[in-house]
Symmetry: C2
Subunit: 247 residues, 2 copies
């Protein structure tokens, strides 16, 4: 048994999310099936740093698994890439000791969210961005996003369906920039954990602040009221990227 | 009857090409069906500047049609965009006189071809680029591409299946640049016409020249031999974009 840690990228468009589901194409399911070709049918469980929903992408998801046998990390990367469909790419491969756990060892994560601000949805971006065709003031979003830094109760920003009781999380970094060339707003959030749909709800709220439909410091109020109904919006999965996981 | 000239963009991935086909999703078919919603079921024929194959994209395809009635060009654009699926976008709309014909009036066209040069296929580019993971010298391609300028017999670069007898075409501009940020080679070709698969065959040949597998002036030899077998390769549809049509 050898434990491998892999950094992977995937286009989430044609997956029903990360987590294995019977009869549905998922990232975990596809990778586990591929590994069975290397183990003569022996099943190998994959552990991810966390789930991603249907349509959500990854630029740097981390997984680990225990392989029956030992091959050099570089060979594992090549062998697996030769078996992967074109919408999953293994970026890095490393042999780690059995203390390493892709999920339990996570210290922080960075998510990116991309918003296409063109009037119409760009045909080439429909699966790769959210879309906000309304006016906004970037300065308002820049001001509001600073209210994210620190430790807050994110109950207002957690979709129902999550099973986690403790809704307090710490955000270390939160930035937004407007890319003129692509007409995209690019958000990045680094924190010690994120609740179900939290990034997508935050982006929807920040866009409403930029549009002037909410007070520029409405996040502070939402931390207090602890009411998902008051944040309302949820930006689409297509704009969300799991960018980096830190251990 | 009013004749409309439209500039449109589409992601060719989920279309069986431009031209209408029974029971297959095509760009022409989808637009014609959408127009029937505006004409209470009356069929309106769409004319494109030319066909694009399955998987080939358009940044600036031109179409025309005769609409039974007259509405301002800007309203036509908005009405049609509200009916289009997300993989087609109407960019510009103009009322033209009946002399204008999208196909017969073409003076020249520009095609773009994008090649991802990364070692593995990037999951996010698999439908939007060709892929060339081998070494190449950009200078060789830059030298070779100059041999395209002018009027030549492109018999060696025409896929069988074309019905056109005259294989002589004039290329006005042909450029290549390497985009460091995206690791992409971007080719652009402007000419008075292009034979079936001609751009894709030219790109495959130019990449072989860059790789040193062909003489840097092999295009000159290929014009002479007039033999499709000698050019061999054909870059995939996914990297090809109809960029602009001139009248």
């Amino acid at each position: 048994m050898t434990r491998y840690k892999l950094k992977i990228s995937y286009d989430g468009t044609r997956f029903h999310g990360f987590q294995r589901q019977t009869d549905l194409r998922t990232v975990q399911g596809v990778i586990e099936q591929s590994l069975e070709k290397m183990t003569k049918g022996q099943h190998v469980d994959i552990f991810g740093s966390g789930r991603t929903d249907a349509g959500v992408h990854a630029l740097g998801q981390i997984i680990h698994f225990d392989y029956p046998g030992e091959i050099p990390a570089e060979n594992m990367l090549r062998a697996m890439n030769s078996l992967m469909p074109l919408d999953i790419l293994i970026l890095e491969s490393e042999i780690v000791d059995e203390e390493f756990h892709a999920r339990f060892g996570v210290k922080k994560k960075t998510y990116q969210y991309r918003v296409d601000c063109g009037h119409y949805t760009d045909p080439f971006k429909r699966f790769y961005t959210g879309h906000y065709p309304y006016p906004f003031e970037l300065e308002k979003i820049e001001t509001a996003i600073k209210d994210l830094i620190g430790t807050h109760d994110f109950t207002s920003f957690a979709a129902s369906g999550g099973v986690i009781e403790d809704k307090v999380r710490t955000i270390y970094e939160a930035t937004v920039r407007f890319d003129e060339k692509s007409s995209e707003l690019v958000f990045e959030f680094t924190g010690n954990g994120f609740l179900y749909n939290m990034v997508r709800i935050l982006v929807a709220t920040l866009l409403e602040i930029g549009n002037g439909r909410r007070d520029v410091h409405d996040l502070l109020r939402l931390y207090e009221v602890k009411d998902r109904e008051q944040a309302r919006g949820c930006a689409p999965a297509s704009g969300l990227y799991l960018k980096e996981v830190f251990y």
